[in-house]
Amino acid sequence: MTTTPRWRALTHHHLFWPVAVLVVLLLVNVPFTPDFFSIRMTNGHLHGSLVSIVLFGSPLILVAVGMTLVIATGGIDLSVGAVVAITGALTCSYISDQSDQSALSGVFLAMGIGLLAAVICGLWNGFLVARMGIQPIIATLIIMVAGRGVAQLITDGQIITVNSEPFKMIGGGYWLTLPFSIFVVAVVVAVTVMLTRRTALGLLVESVGGNAEASRLVGIRSRRIKIMVYVFCAVCAGIAGLMISSNTSAADGNNAGLWIELDAILAVVIGGTSLLGGRFSIGGTVVGALVIQTLTTTIYTIGVPTQTNLVFKAAVVIVVCLLQSPKFRAKVFRGKFGTKPGAKGGTGQPAAAPADTAPAPEAAPKMEVS
């Protein structure tokens, strides 16, 4: 009897399902590549499947973290892929114009210009959504459509390659034996968690997502919060754009960050954040992004032909979404175990309720919304 409430509390924790999916995906690899979890040291760098999952997944994590906050306010940002392309294009074209491409000042200035463009995109999205009151999905569609054109305009339709050591550092460099991009991601995630969970900011974001008008009446500047969130998302996408273009040392206006907005939204959904807004989980999003990257890696390692990658992804999306849908769970699981919840509810709940008061209120609303 004592294990049941604890197990229940565990399964009802909002990170349980995403983490379970991640663990299962990781374990699937073991029979195919026995040394999947081993991490080797070569040339002073750590190598291994786990490291590369985090390394290749880092742009996605960044974009997804930004997207989480936007979705928490009840919005969505489709323009991140275009912002990735614009940032990469601007930065690379500035660096490639320099006589000394490795000069630190030039690289920082270039990155600053790229991120400034990202901020402008974010401000524009925020302005349309918060000031003009346009549906987020449409407002961000504008930059999604036009942004790639702008990125191609900047690169003149070419793929700009750069040869700059300091710039290479962000996406492909190593620091303290680990890929440098992992540190960038860690800093961004840590700052985001600090700002949203240690200050009232996260609460404000959630309240705006829950009911923007009510929060405005309560005295929250919901417009300002919304604009801020879109700017933050665009900056995250900008950093991801720097990372992607630095990793390949090239800017491709057409293909950089293609479909990343869809992957990011997927990561957020897998992480348990409701698309309806009002609630978010940064941890869940990070796990969700890792799930997507692990899925890609898994498809390569277990020898499924790479062209079925997308079909696999579609299957996972559908399964995850169905599992998260309360209606689906109700239909499928109640049909099979019709007696179980009723029987347990009678005996187990009164005893369990005082035992785990802490996780219960956290878990309860999650079930309703997600």
Binding site: M144, G157, G253, Q307, T308, A314, K331
Partner: protein
């Protein structure tokens, strides 16, 4: 000014003398008129600028339909979905999949094209039905479900073949090459089919019960439910129509370029959605006209041909121009809806 007097709206009772601008802004047909006006203005501008290069020939106008027939069909399907308050991101993938599926069956399996056409349409419609079913029965957001559809169909393209398959079947080539003479110029079969689909959609949306239901569900789902409209059936039907239209668009696209490629029509869902929005349909659903979609597609097509005539502009200007137009129309829509509320 017949358009302003026809509207049976009731602001007269509240504000005794509404200014002409206010009535005009309140007219639901305004976005369509603006788009039509824009199309005319662009066409006239093109005429005056490229007169010596043959822009004025009727065939240039006909080519708008020939070159954008598939987009028109896809956009008509999307119009249904958007009117019902949903969104369909899978359009481009279904088009790509249909080109691949058709090319594979015709070239590799040797099936006659007349057998393949119904099969391709059935697959597209069934895909749309499945998405509608999941959206309605499990209450998952259309955005996510059709996103999964996007991945699924694009993945299936690659499963069929990674390489593009060109179609050399004589019956396909003769269909693709067939021209219908209209005196001043000719239209391809694809363009005719697109116009028929448009007419059919116009009839369904404005003269059948189903069409009214689509508007009702998109306008206010809750009220539609309380009125006892079969909301689930309508939603599923709308996505089925969109899937069907996408598959048909895919067939037209196959005729147009006579090959199947796993990367065909990538991102065409954006073009289709943009055409619908430029055509004046509200993305929140419940308001818009399928004729507007026609003008939206024509405007996008005209941008492309103007860029071709200009010669010095690069292809990415199409994207930028589309984005700017999209922005302008969204702002017009916004101005309209705020007026209505006030």
């Amino acid at each position: 000014m017949s358009t302003t007097t026809k509207t049976p709206t009731a602001p007269e009772s509240r504000t005794p003398a509404p200014s002409r601008a206010a009535t005009l802004l309140g007219d639901r047909r305004l976005p369509v008129l603006v788009t039509a006006g824009l199309f005319l203005a662009m066409y006239v501008a093109g005429l005056s600028r490229y007169q010596n290069y043959g822009f004025g020939e009727p065939q240039v106008f006909m080519n708008l339909f020939i070159d954008n027939g598939y987009l028109l069909v896809a956009a008509v399907g999307v119009t249904f979905v958007i009117l019902s308050g949903g969104i369909d991101l899978s359009v481009g993938s279904v088009i790509g999949f249909t080109t691949m599926f058709t090319a594979w069956l015709v070239e590799r399996q040797g099936l006659p094209i007349l057998v393949v056409i119904p099969m391709a349409l059935a697959v597209g419609a069934f895909g749309g039905f499945l998405m509608g079913y999941v959206i309605h029965n499990f209450e998952i957001q259309p955005f996510i479900v059709t996103l999964a559809g996007l991945f699924l169909f694009r993945g299936l393209c690659l499963v069929i073949s990674k390489e593009s398959i060109s179609i050399g079947d004589p019956s396909v080539s003769s269909m693709a090459g067939a021209q219908v003479n209209l005196g001043a110029g000719f239209l391809s079969i694809g363009a005719i089919v697109a116009l028929v689909v448009l007419a059919g959609a116009f009839y369904v949306l404005h003269y059948t019960r189903f069409g009214r239901r689509v508007y009702a569900v998109g306008g206010n789902e809750q009220s539609a439910l309380l009125m006892g409209l079969p909301q689930g059936g309508t939603k599923i039907a709308v996505y089925t129509i969109s899937g069907f239209c996408s598959a048909l668009a895919g067939l037209l696209f196959t005729l147009y370029i006579q090959s199947g490629d796993p990367l065909h029509a990538t991102g065409m869902e954006l073009d289709a959605i943009a055409a619908v929005v430029i055509g004046g349909t509200l993305l929140t659903g419940g308001s818009g006209y399928v004729i507007g979609t026609l003008f939206g597609v024509l405007v996008l097509g005209l941008i492309k041909s103007i860029i071709q005539f200009e010669g010095t502009l690069s292809s990415w200007w199409t994207k930028i121009a589309t984005g700017v137009l999209l922005c302008a129309f969204i702002l017009i829509q916004r101005a309209m809806t705020t007026r209505k509320k006030a």
